[in-house]
């Protein structure tokens, strides 16, 4: 059984279903990427996995434990961390306080983890006393990811981490995501930049209209002529 397994998720906002029998799983230490056209329900699938969206059919398990009924906060305690696409920092608090808030649930010493985050994102150490709201887009994303890492999660979920940052920063962020995965974390992310994302992905999911269209390794999807034609622009 996969480390994270979300099987047959069906649900949406109000009475309209956005996800139809959507299945996503992530193995330990691997990067899984959800790609697809606009409005395919990528972010919705992510929210459903994290419990921010009610699903009426389907089951989500983490490390074999059924977590379908848990609130997002309870899932944080179980070792999941989520970085939303927007509004993912506390703008009027310093970088350091952002990280502290990430570790809010922890009662033990957080200095070690903070040190690890600063090693991963050296720029944050320099800016640690500055308000997070004053940082550049790429630096904010680093704060957002750093905040999520402070709980020492086993599964990190990123919703379009490279949205709105420059191409150079985007490459840096992808490199960092690979670095994070190397430390043994499982990563599930939604990406607009499908090509680059599939390049670093162990597993890729192509969603269309809330359904799984293609599921394979990142490399295989990149080589699949139909996926290339429909979603990667040739």
């Amino acid at each position: 059984m996969s480390y994270l397994s979300a099987k047959g998720m069906t649900g949406g906002y109000g009475s309209v279903d956005i996800l139809h029998d959507c299945t996503i799983s992530v193995e330990k230490g691997e990067i899984a990427v959800i790609v697809g056209p606009n409005g395919a329900g990528k972010s919705t699938a992510m929210k459903a996995v994290f419990g921010m969206l009610a699903i009426h059919t389907g089951k989500v398990t983490l490390d074999g434990e059924d977590i379908t009924a848990l609130t997002p906060q309870a899932r944080v305690a179980k070792g999941m961390a989520f970085v939303p696409q927007t509004n993912n920092i506390f703008p009027s608090m310093s970088v350091e306080q952002n990280l502290e808030m990430g570790a809010f649930l922890r009662r033990d010493d957080i200095n070690g983890t903070m040190e690890q985050v600063y090693e991963l994102f050296p720029i944050l150490r320099q800016k640690r006393l500055q308000n997070a709201g004053e940082l550049s887009g790429g630096q904010r994303q680093q704060v957002a990811v750093g905040r999520a890492l402070m709980t020492k999660p086993k599964l990190l979920m990123l919703d379009e981490p490279t949205a709105g940052v420059s191409p150079i920063v985007m490459d840096e962020l992808f490199d960092l995501i690979i670095d994070i995965a190397r430390t043994g974390l499982s990563i599930l992310m939604v990406e607009q930049n499908a090509r680059q994302a599939l390049n670093i992905a162990d597993k890729g999911y192509v969603l269309v209209q809330g359904e799984n269209r293609f599921t394979d390794t990142g490399q295989a999807l990149m080589n699949d002529p139909e996926v290339r034609r429909s979603f990667l622009g040739g």
Partner: protein, 337 residues
């Protein structure tokens, strides 16, 4: 030279000292309003009457202590009763949250719906206070009246004009400083305080970080109630307690919070002093003040008062309008209205 000193002493006595005390009271009130706005995201119109409720409890305990012969010597007995007032007021605020606001929070209601609900809470609170203590003036100040009497000041300095500082004014100013330091320490250094700021900054992300919203809301109400009770008691000691006056205080308090920038604690303090100084300088009669500064044979007709004290609320109102027109986010950057 002596004329100038006399004029300054006169101004201190009738403008600067009272405005510092009144400004402190407004600042404490505005801090409560701004805190509720920043964290619970609505304008709490019941704040003035919450002040009245807390002060009422303080008065009742003060009378009880006085009847038992307990006092603080030169200091007012009300200071001893203050913790009890805060306790009851906090329970009252938590109860109103439980009965009213929690319902709207669960529905994620618009701020304007909260605002209307808070008007309802305001009327109910107002009714409860009048029912328990009556609509009339209550005097509960005891202990020494003055720190410096005008006559002593004149003897000390040899000036014709005296400066008197009432004990209540001194207590007000120092309590305000202590409360503000404690509040800022709490918000910036403690785990609970930081979680409140995080919640105010980004509610959804605070939830994702495992911050318990119910706890944040409860702490906010307790602090708002404490600030309301302290502000109300200091105002009552300085002037007198009358439920209707506390309801009227809502305008200058909101003006202070908005002038400083709603949701910004530092702004609330600055706003409190801006409003207090404007209100008092505009309604003060400058006849004697100018009399000291012009040659003695000049005769001054009229009081040289810009605005009658009856219109003092108009001052807050005009400042409020100007700020909303020119700088809607306040002096310091607040959340905006």
């Amino acid at each position: 030279m002596e004329n100038w000193l006399n004029a300054f002493a006169l101004l201190s006595n009738f403008v600067i000292v009272p405005a510092l005390a009144y400004g402190s009271q407004l600042a404490l009130g505005a801090l409560g309003v701004t805190l509720v706005f920043g964290i619970l995201r609505f304008s709490n119109f019941a704040h003035g009457d919450t002040m009245a409720f807390g002060t009422m409890v303080v008065i009742l305990f003060t009378w009880w202590f006085q009847s038992m012969g307990i006092n603080l010597g030169p200091l007012p007995t009300a200071l001893l009763a203050l913790p009890f007032g805060i306790l009851f007021c906090a329970l009252f605020a938590l109860l109103s949250d439980r009965l009213v606001y929690r319902f709207y929070r669960a529905k994620r209601a618009d701020p304007v719906i909260y605002l209307i609900a808070s008007v309802g809470v305001m009327f109910v609170t107002n009714g409860i206070v009048r029912f328990i203590i009556g609509p009339d003036d209550q005097n509960f100040a005891d202990g020494e009246r003055f720190i410096i009497r005008a006559r002593d000041f004149k003897e000390m300095t040899g000036l014709a004009e005296g400066v008197s500082i009432k004990l209540s004014q001194g207590i007000t100013f120092f309590t305000m400083i202590i409360v503000v330091i404690a509040l800022f320490w709490f918000l910036n250094k403690t785990r609970s305080g930081k979680s409140m700021r995080a919640y105010s900054d980004n509610e959804d992300l605070a939830l994702l970080s495992g911050i318990n919203p119910d706890r944040v809301v409860a702490i906010t109400w307790i602090i708002a109630a404490a600030l309301a009770t302290i502000a109300g008691t200091l105002y009552g000691l300085d002037k007198s307690f009358k439920p209707f006056t506390y309801f009227q205080l809502l305008l200058p308090i909101f003006a202070a919070a908005i002038v400083g920038g709603l949701g910004n604690p530092l702004g609330a303090i600055a706003g409190g002093f801006v409003i207090a100084f404007s209100e008092i300088t505009v309604t003060y009669a400058y006849k004697r003040f100018i009399g000291h500064l012009v040659p003695e044979d000049w005769e001054i007709n009229g009081l040289i008062q810009l605005l009658s004290t009856d219109y003092k609320f108009a001052v807050s109102f005009i400042i409020l309008l100007l700020v909303l027109l020119i700088r809607p986010h306040g002096i310091f950057k607040g959340t905006g209205v």
